[in-house]
Amino acid sequence: MGWRNKLRLLALDDLTLQVKPGIIFGFLGPNGAGKSTTIKLLLGLVTPTKGTAFLSGVPVYDKRSRERVGFLPEDPSFCAYLRAGEFLELCGKVLHMDRATRKKRISETLEMVGLTAKVKTKISEFSRGMLQRIGLAQALLNQPDLVVLDEPLNGLDPYGRKELKSILLSQKTQGKTVFFSSHILSDVEEMCDEVGILNRGRMVVGGRLKGLLPTKAVTLQVQEMKPETMTRLEALTSAITREHHHWTIHLSEPSHKNEACALLREANNQSIEVQTRAESLEDFFFRQIEENNRHRGFSNTSAVGSAIESTGAIP
């Protein structure tokens, strides 16, 4: 699919994405990759110049596709002149909820996000974290089947983040689908069943998190290292570092383990400590983005959508 804005800037290019119901899906990508554009496209806020998109089988240009969807935008801003209760009342009406259900759900969602005491407070008086909470309340008001959240963890303190994660996990246990974009990869790794990584408008990789991260990062530790051994190991390693009284050899591929061990034994018959660990989502993310940029002839240091730039945004 390809979307272009009025200035003919390529906003998104060839995304193809499918999300299964009942899961938490983490939508990842560097700044400028097209995550927010994808979300806006799914919600009918941006019109594609080419391609199609569906929500629960309904085309996104049809407003009925949004009947069972809750959305929390990035850096939310709501009707500042309304009180929290009035704003949710407005959302309930737009969602065609009847008066009794509206009243019940407003009370429930305010309690869920910890804003019951603020029901009569004007939204203009809300802090960044409280705006995020009221945003979540409006997104969950009609108990939607799909919850779409654009950077929901931004602006929340550690307690807020913990509560939000708990709410999102509870949505999953109720059989709802949660689709969210985030730069906080540790949280994504903790919560998501599936992830998709987007780079410069194209899906780099996607699927079940457990299946995506099978690669083991292997490091070898030895007490001594001769310069000629180091040279011979170069082709098999990504880095060799010296820490205190031992050398650490980071293998570029787990499959190089036996060959590297044989070389080390041959050079100096010493004990080798082998450490194997699963690759973190963060490592996986950087590797995928960098490989994708290399493959497509982009620099990893370019301004928009670069993996290097995004490292600054990822804690």
């Binding site: 806020l45 959305f71 935008p73 939310p76 009707c79 959302c91 009406k93 737009v94 969602l95």
Partner: protein
């Protein structure tokens, strides 16, 4: 229709909570309350002055209320409030028409209050009812509806300030379309043919000079305003539908 009414009520609430509205109404009350001073200020023409003040206030209140729609829509777009609302099953047309209706609603209430107040003052000061002031009020209502539609059109693709400036510009130029008509340049003629003709709705001078203007003429001028407003709203709707809310 339900969605449209929901947005309409919210817009009404928003405008009601704008401090500027109360400053405006307070100024009107001061001007009306100072009516007894007119005979000292006008050199014996207090009746005309009072009537003209009432007519000017109708225009001013109508214009300022109408401008609120330009502020309101453009601000919703700038602050991305509209993204939250339109991510729900709310059509863009309903949003736009709801905003328009909300401002027209509060503008109507403002004009009714002002008209009743002026009728009372005129009766009190002049000793007889000036029912022709109702004609003035009705044409002012048509002007307010038309200006609101102009505001909606500009707010659908401009930021707050340009939208308000352009709305005021159309209001000002629209009151002088006969100048465009008299100028033979192609640009002037083209502008005349597409520009809202506010002159058709302006009966202040005629009614202020006690000339007879029939209700039929007043009604037709308001019908013109409504038809022109519908065209502007349709255009705004097309533009807003094509607009990316990014």
């Amino acid at each position: 229709m339900y969605d449209l009414m929901t947005i309409c009520k919210t817009t009404y609430t928003r405008v009601l909570r704008m401090r500027s509205l109360y400053v405006l109404l307070a100024s009107v009350l001061v001007l009306v309350g100072a009516a007894h001073l007119y005979d000292e200020l006008s050199g014996g023409r207090e009746k005309e002055l009072m009537y003209d003040t009432g007519a000017a206030l109708l225009s001013l209140v109508g214009l300022l209320t109408a401008l609120m729609v330009a502020f309101d829509i453009a601000r919703d777009l700038r602050e991305k409030v509209v993204m939250t609302l339109l991510s729900k099953p709310l059509g863009r047309s309903q949003y736009l028409l709801g905003k328009f209706s909300g401002v027209v609603w509060i503008g109507t209430i403002n004009l009714i209050i002002l008209t009743l107040g002026m009728l009372l003052i005129l009766y009190w000061e002049q000793g007889f009812a000036r029912w022709d002031f109702l004609k003035l009020a009705f044409s002012a209502w048509g002007t307010m509806v038309l200006t609101t539609a102009v505001g909606v059109l500009f707010a659908s693709f401009f930021a707050e300030l340009p939208a308000v400036i352009l709305t005021v510009a159309v209001y000002a130029i629209g009151h002088g379309t006969e100048v465009l008509y008299q100028n033979n340049s192609i640009f002037s003629q083209l502008l005349f043919s597409v520009m809202a003709n506010y002159g058709l709705l302006d009966f202040k001078d005629a009614l202020g000079s006690n000339l007879y203007i029939s209700w039929k003429l007043i009604v037709w001028s308001v019908v013109y305003a409504l038809v022109y407003s519908s065209a502007l709203l349709s255009l705004a709707n097309i533009i807003f539908h094509r607009r990316d809310l990014a």
